[in-house]
Amino acid sequence: MLSRVADSLYWMSRYLERAENTARQLDVTLSLMLDTGGASVESRWQHLVAALGKPAGLRVSGTSDEMARAMVFDPLTPASITYCVNAARENARQVREEISTEQWQRLNRLYHQIHDPETEAGFEASASDTLTTVLDGIHLFQGVGGSTMIHGQGWQFIRLGRYLERAYSTATMLEAAVPDLASAQDRENSAYQYLDLVGLLRSCTAFEAYCQVYTADIVPDQILEFLLLNRDFPHSIRYAVDNIRYAIESIQRHGGKRAPELAASVGKLHAMIEYSSIGEILSGDASTFLHSIREQCLRIHETIYRNYVQYSIQSALTV
């Protein structure tokens, strides 16, 4: 597979995952703001910006409506949903012949929906509807891809992009939530705290799944355990890392270069999560642990690039 094509598929997928993550976290935050007895609107926004990894260029002042609009519609802010959807579509267009027509149509429809002037005009009244449209569009794209695209190397690059972005953004979100989780530990659960904790789970579509495992007993440590270490939940970090590993193995099975360096960096992250218990993590410094996951994700990204996309000609010729 051409490096350029792999690169475009990988980024198409990362951008959509990023848009999905932003849409879900924004939706939860806007809904939490409705309960005025909890944290202040300002601190909610600060928290959201931190949970998104303090992306550069994101508007952090003004009214709630202005900030939310910027986060959804500003085409010039790399963190906005519109920016991510545009970038995903642009990448898809470069490799139009690699993805299925159905995938292209879904992505195109999502693009037109978000660019429809009526969507922006009616945003204040129906923010949640808009965000649901975005999420639906992305889910449709992923579902249709799963059933119409050939599951070869290109598909594995799509999966690689999705799960690497997911591991990174979930770690970022949890890292921002650690102080709140720690403080919630010490006090009686108030109704507002309960809402906040449920909000954290909802940001990862994890509330119902969590209840199935732990019942509706919302305990901070268990939330952390669930989102970090659960083996079966698709938005947990462990699940994402398992899938990163699987995608890389599949890429190599489908004709991609063997890359021991890449196997090592993914293996390291995998082992770190595989052989950790929540007790250990909490007795140490959870923030540092999460931060290390993020750094390792970045390293994996660089290694993918070094091996599959932007390798130097000299290195490729000496092999």
């Binding site: 597979m1 051409l2 490096s3 579509r89 139009r96 012949e97 270069k257």
Partner: protein, 486 residues
Amino acid sequence: MPAGSSVAFDSLFGDYPLDCAYDEMRTPSGSIRPHYRALAEMLASLPAGELQRRKQSADLSFLTQGITFTVYGRDEGTERIFPYDMLPRLITATEWDRIERGLTQRITALNLFLRDIYSDAKILADKVIPSELIYSCKHYRRQMRGLDVPRNVYIAVVGSDLLRLDNGEFVVLEDNLRVPSGVSYMLTNRRVMKRTFPQLFASCGVKPIEQYPQLLLATLRALAPEGRPEPNIVLLTPGVYNSAYFEHTYLARQMGIELVEGRDLVTHDNIVYMRTTDGLKRVDVIYRRVDDDFCDPLIFRSDSALGCAGLFNAYRAGNVTITNAFGTGLADDKAVYAYVPRMIRYYLNEDPILPNVETYILGEDRDREYALANLDKLVVKAVGESGGYGMLIGPHASQQKRAEFAAAIRANPRNYIAQPTLDFSRAPCLLDGKLEPRHVDLRPYVLYGDKVQIVPGGLTRVALEKGSLVVNSSQGGGSKDTWVLE
């Protein structure tokens, strides 16, 4: 059945005019030409509305097969189908035989001409063609001088445009020797027509064209550098913003070869590689759909991002075949065109089978004087342009436009040629449920690897606008399927 007698038939033809030009389907007296009878009978036998229904199903077929071009601007990202006409254009076996022999002769001579110009230039020494005409051509590439190209084939893929004049004879209007396009429409038109008119297709006895991608692949393989028995063949595209991008993806898919852009390629030690996820992979043959100017920033335009630095040196070293060769545009220059019949006599010692259109070379004093005095009767073309750009259709142009062209011709006579306004043939097209005649040309596709091969057919381009003589797709033209009969 005496065609024309049934009610359905009359309503279909309505006031179909036979006023001028050669009609592909009907004789001047109005009767149906013999090879069109099966088509006419089928049209007459179809119940009302049936044609329209089939048209819709054909539209859908184009759309679902993705035979579309992308529209930018307001409806950004929406896909439209390429305009086409439902009714096939028929050519008899005898007519085709002449076209095939004529084009084979012509392409052979043009290739010998390129070989000659880029080596000894004997034809210039013998004063058959004036040297200044060649050396002032903007498509002449001095870098090609003395360079050996594989099998001496400069033009592996050619599309020549033919017209049928009022005497029924085909003439060559121009040759496209650089990066001719449109072959994907020829192939997809055929697929849709077979589905739309299966019985008619079977009863007419049509020669197949579906083997084109395979022949193209074999042609490219035949031109691979020595010692590369399993050549890696790629198609080089300028990218998604090129209007022919659909065709590039289509051909790459049909041939099972990689579609690459300039940024996918790197050169090292005069060898071309493509970047893959499995490391660098050597490239042996490049079927390029990028113009000369943009192929290699080190040799041609230095501001081009579409090509790959070092490509030309690798080509010169014989490590990669790039086809068509560079500098072939010289031979489809519209002024050089006027000399093709003389080339055929010079290199092959034969009379041209397919004639040229009468052409005035405005760099020559006598021709220019005549042309400037008769601008209202002539078509003037800029020699370096294609696709219907830079053209004056005298009889239809305003006084002011003619004056502008006259000034431009005086300023740079080498840049223009003039031809009489041709009354070329018209074929019936289905427009709003009625048959109406529209001007058509014919672009057969010629391949030249081991030998010259032409698939029986080509792209019939249609000037869909009433009275229009311009068939180029960039100027509102459409296409129709071309059936060469057994």
